[in-house]
Amino acid sequence: MLSIRAYKRQEPLQWRSCLVFLGAVLLSLAISALLLQVHGKPALHGLRILFAGAFGSLWAIEDCLIKAIPIFLCSLGVAIAFRLQVWNIGAEGQFALGAIGATGVALAFPDLPGYGLLPLMAAAAFLLGGLWGLIPALLKLRMQANEIIVTLMMNYIAILILDYLVYGRWKDPQSFGFPMTPEFGPGAIVGKIGSTNLNWGLVVCLVTGVVVWVFFRFTRLGFEFRAAGENIRASRYAGLPYQRLVCLAMVLSGALAGWAGLLEASATINRLQPSIMVGYGYTAIVVAWLARLNPLTIGLASFLLAALRVGVENLQLDLQVPAAFGGIMEGLILLTVLAGGFFMEYGLKLRRTA
């Protein structure tokens, strides 16, 4: 009789881990196709529409990049916290607070020129997003409150604050009752690059991505993050300022999500309204795990998951697939890749037993 036995790998897989990743994504696509089929839709045709929708035209690719911007920033932030093994599930709320901060500044100084207003908006988004990250960090350190629960709950608080503002105080008198703020003045809008549809947020992503990468790789503080995330006991032994690191990680994490909120409000919809919350903060968690917390691969994974969103929109239009299908696919990809993580650590051996 043949039996299968798992053994622990001594050497890391290195480049072959790409194959595991690819296999996992293919498996999730296959399951998605199966779901389409069960739903009575043509499966292969559906996948083709999905790909065409995401990569089929220059316009589609631009759309993917635009959606990748907030996902990337949130995911980069989440990854900083995850490095320290602090589980920040609150990028969604920190994103909302960042958008609120930026909007508050934009509405307060409508006549300032861009070079004065945008830095102020960035500072406000950084502060409010960072604060929304700092609160769960302090609760964790002072009162041993589980940060997963606290950050998750604070997402709902943040969204309600946003609703309160756009339904009330900040509501545009000329919006015919729709919950939205007035449109931002020209100084508060992050502009487009040349004649493309892409905004300068893309450059912000590139710069922050490189800064975070350099930070982890070449600075002493970055090393302290890595070491403290590996082994909390060893970090105490080595005199690492663990509590300060946790606070800093959560502030940076929240601030980056806050910037994503700023860009989304300013560059994409030019105002604040509830429809700004489309779950980028949750997608960011999926992205951070898929990319194994590496800033460079986070860029790639953000683009791919943004493409999935764009492609599913296309699928919805053409095949009348429910909107939830995108979320299902996102979840499938995460599950198959996480399950694939098993093969990074273990190998399988076939054995003949008597």
């Binding site: 600075t219 002493r220 503080l221 090393f223 890595r226 006991r233 060893a234 032994y237 080595a238 005199g239």
Partner: protein, 504 residues
């Protein structure tokens, strides 16, 4: 005399991990109706032996006999099938379930169980062995002693005949411990074989029918408890006296005072007074768990002193640890080199940087290349094999990892070194190397050597301090032969040789 074969007998069991001989030619017998204590320091080989008995490790050599018949334990299930059950230090219970549910958990039977039937059967069993417990109580509401009773009932319910207790009193109050001992005697009376693992001499003397002592992987004594004269004799057996190695040691002029503790008191520690100067090694000996850990944690900055003063390099504790420099200072070589001193999934270079990062920092930047070269250099001079700074810490053997930690800590040019069980788990050659390194470091530093191995203390120390129950019983020069003879007594906490205390 006709004797029935013992329930379980070990015959010439040996087990090595790499070059470290964890168990060497161990033969022991466990008989029905007897309480046998297994005594030994941390690292003496107790846990390896128990893992072999429980079927989780395979011996390199030797046999296990079950009622005189050779048996092989290939899996944990094999050991369970012949009736060996363990009560671990950390209980294996589902907190949210009731006592009865925990006891039935994993027990083969029909798929549907009626709670009242389960509870009745557990209550009947508990009565039979007089371990009172409410079968309906949720485990999370139980005290530690009650949880332990649930663990015991779990084993009895599965009709285990050999019950192994791994340091069962560590989590109990004294009253609970007394109740446990009463229960163990009852179980022995019902023809169970009880194995009691501990390093608490009082308990072993009070409880056992037979006592076996392990030291450095060997059985150094295996005898009826009545033949043991005193706790001191046991302590002596545990830590050993035989000098396996000798290293040349020149006396040094003791210089500047680097550590001064007076009146340190914090519940576990009681009125500790200690002084250490540059150029001397103070050997702190004692049976593990007598206050060495809180003392070391206080000196190394992991735990603030509650009362009394601790001065390091002439500075008050709080001041010293607030502004401590990375070099020319305090270095700590902990017992737990894998979990505390290193990160297993970081490279050796990163592990070097763990405590020396300030020495490789320029502004905000870290000079990784320079650190890697330094690590390569240290690997050569400290003979770390393989000398590759890019290896992960987990890829090194215990001895080489220890040398890596020592190399790193010595690179900080410390003036005060705290070395905790620095040679535990190392083979002879590595032990000798570590000893030489410590003696060499003495030229520059004062060393607090915390060890459970008397021969190590005698080979290295200039002065010896003996700890018992959170107090330092005595401190004396290592040449004082009179006192050295009485170290066993001091470690057992008595000045006079007490007679063995045994109840019926």
């Amino acid at each position: 005399m006709i004797t029935t074969p013992p329930l379980i007998a070990l015959d010439g069991i040996s087990k090595a991990f790499g070059p470290v001989q964890a168990n060497q030619d161990i033969s022991l017998a466990f008989r029905a109706g007897k309480i046998k204590s297994l005594l030994g320091e941390n690292g003496a080989g107790k846990s390896t032996l128990m893992s072999i008995l429980a079927g989780r490790l395979q011996p390199d050599k030797g046999r296990i006999l079950v009622e005189g018949q050779p048996a092989r334990f290939r899996t944990a299930q094999d050991a369970i099938n012949v009736g060996i059950g363990m009560v671990y230090q950390h209980f294996m219970l589902v907190e949210a379930m009731t006592v009865a549910e925990n006891i039935f958990l994993g027990y083969p039977g029909p798929p549907l169980l009626k709670p009242s039937v389960m509870e009745d059967r557990v209550a009947a069993l508990a009565e039979e062995v007089s371990l009172t417990i409410d079968p309906r109580a949720r485990v999370s509401t139980l005290s530690m002693g009650e949880k332990q009773r649930v663990e015991i009932l779990k084993l009895l319910f599965r009709e285990n005949r050999i019950l192994i207790f791994d340091e069962p009193t560590a989590v109990l109050t004294p009253q609970e411990a007394d109740q446990l001992f009463e229960a163990l005697r009852q179980l022995a009376a019902q023809h169970k074989a009880i194995v009691f693992i501990s390093h608490k001499l009082d308990e072993v003397m009070a409880l056992s029918d037979e006592i076996a002592v392990l030291h450095k992987g060997r059985v150094v004594a295996d005898t009826a408890a009545t033949t043991i004269q005193s706790k001191a004799e046991l302590a002596q057996l545990m830590v050993g006296r035989e000098v396996i190695l000798q290293v040349a040691r020149d006396p040094f002029e003791a210089r500047q005072r680097v550590l001064r503790i007076s009146g340190l008191d914090d519940g576990e520690l009681q009125d500790i007074h200690l002084e250490l100067r540059q150029g001397e090694i103070l050997g702190l000996v004692g049976v593990a768990g007598n206050g060495q850990k809180p003392l070391v944690e206080t000196v190394c900055g992991l735990k603030p002193p509650m009362s009394g003063t601790v001065r390091i390099m002439g500075q008050d504790w709080h001041r010293f640890f607030k502004g401590r420099r990375w070099d020319g200072n305090l270095a700590y070589i902990p017992e737990d080199r894998q979990g505390l001193a290193t990160c297993r999934d970081l490279s050796l270079t990163d592990n070097l940087l763990l405590t020396t990062r300030h020495g490789f920092a320029v502004g905000p930047w870290l000079q990784h290349r320079k650190a890697e070269n330094k690590m390569a250099e240290l690997s050569t001079s400290f003979n770390i094999v393989p000398p590759n700074p890019r290896l992960m810490a987990r890829q090194l053997s215990g001895g080489n990892l220890q040398k890596m930690v020592i190399a790193r800590e010595f690179f900080r040019r410390p003036r005060l070194i705290v070395a905790e069980q620095p040679t535990q788990g190392l083979d002879i050659a590595a032990t000798e190397e570590v000893w030489r390194l410590l003696l060499k470091a003495r030229e520059r530093a004062g060393i607090l050597l915390v060890t459970g191995d008397l021969s190590e203390a005698l080979a290295l120390a200039d002065r010896v301090a003996v700890m018992f129950e959170g107090r330092i019983v005595d401190t004396f020069p290592a040449e004082d032969q009179e006192k050295i003879k009485r170290i066993g007594l001091m470690m057992a906490g008595s000045a006079d040789d007490d007679p063995p205390r045994r109840q019926a």
